[in-house]
Amino acid sequence: MILPAQVKTGHLGELADYTRKLYREPELRRLFFELTLQCNEHCFHCGSTCTSARGDELSCDDWKRIIDQVKADFDISRMQLCITGGEPLLNRDFFEIMGYAHEQGFRWGMTSNATLITPQVARRLADVGMGTISVSIDGLRETHDELRGFRGGYDRAMAGVQNLLDVGTFHAVQVTTVVNHGNIDQLDALFEIMDGLDIDSWRVINLEPIGRALERPDLMLTPDDYRRLFTFIRQKRDEGYPLCYGCSHYLGVDWELELRDWYWLCNAGVYTASIMSNGDIGACLDIERRPELIQGNIKRDRLREVWDKRFEVFRHDLSELNEDCRACEHARFCRGDAHHSWDYDNNRPMVCFKGTLF
């Protein structure tokens, strides 16, 4: 254990108090740009239900205006742009938009399936200032291609990773693997593959009950799967490997700080906002896109005003909304867990590790 449980408990208590302050005084540190919902893969677990068709999306000029606006209205010194999609490289103006953001002084990173990252593309990504990237590898070759609906996707993604590494100038090249009940047996084999790459970290996360994954309950992790997954991550970290779990959920005192380098805090609406491909403004892009959770649209609203005056729905403890959560002894630290996995119809968390981890 990296710190004694009682020390972590103290930290979590202070973080709980700090979260109250964040609700009153949020600070935008992560701004997601969903550059397109177009994608060349068809992942069964896609949280945003991407398609191969290009919809009503913001133009290059729109994105440049947003960049100007954000720079004028926010302190960008502690902010990172997080570029995502769809597959962001399918935005035909990708390099112009991101080159402009770079010129304006923004730090930025990207998620990608890497199937389009040739050596030339990798070099261009460096030229327009990309600092970090996370590439999805969701299983061994056959499994990856099946899960992502793209034959040959695994080989192209691995080639993309290598092309990124060959550039050699990015701050971090990360691989992310979404673990489900069907691919969890491949963790050890995947580890051997990842260990053979010169990547900076391997992010191993669980399948979430959102988006298209809701159609595949058979692939959700069981409690035993979760314990197995988290034990795997902890063991590898103990051995010095740069594995990490994502920011998705509260893990309980014993597991907090063991699987990642920070304590759990749902960033939605307190550190994080998103601009969707159609201009809608929200918090985390994984949160269900229902009207009451969309805070505005960048075509008619200024992000600064929306950030300052709206977002109330994200700036409170979700546990307040559920009787069982309110009565739970862990509520002070988990606060009802994450917005992206909150069932807003029934006001309950869809993911809770009480009874599984703590």
Partner: protein
Amino acid sequence: MKKLTRRGFIAALTGAALGLTGCRVFTPEAVYGPPPEDVYGPPSDFDPENNVVETVYGPPEDLGYDPVENEPEDVYGPPSDFDPDDNVPEAVYGPPSMFR
């Protein structure tokens, strides 16, 4: 993967612990800087058990903490060396599910 050597790992633990003290260079945000080995600087003879935890927080066994019966701040007081302002995920990646 860029596995940390044992010395590097200990240095990383030092970094993580110092990060909790609010020293910004060791916070997760440092992922945007040089690779970890360079961030954490030269390895020291740091012993995470005896040097950081006990020095900063006092020996755990002296605290008498019972998480069931006690509110944490009543027992410990505010853990003044933890800076929650630095408790931000690494933003290498996308949203939690990374399903993009």
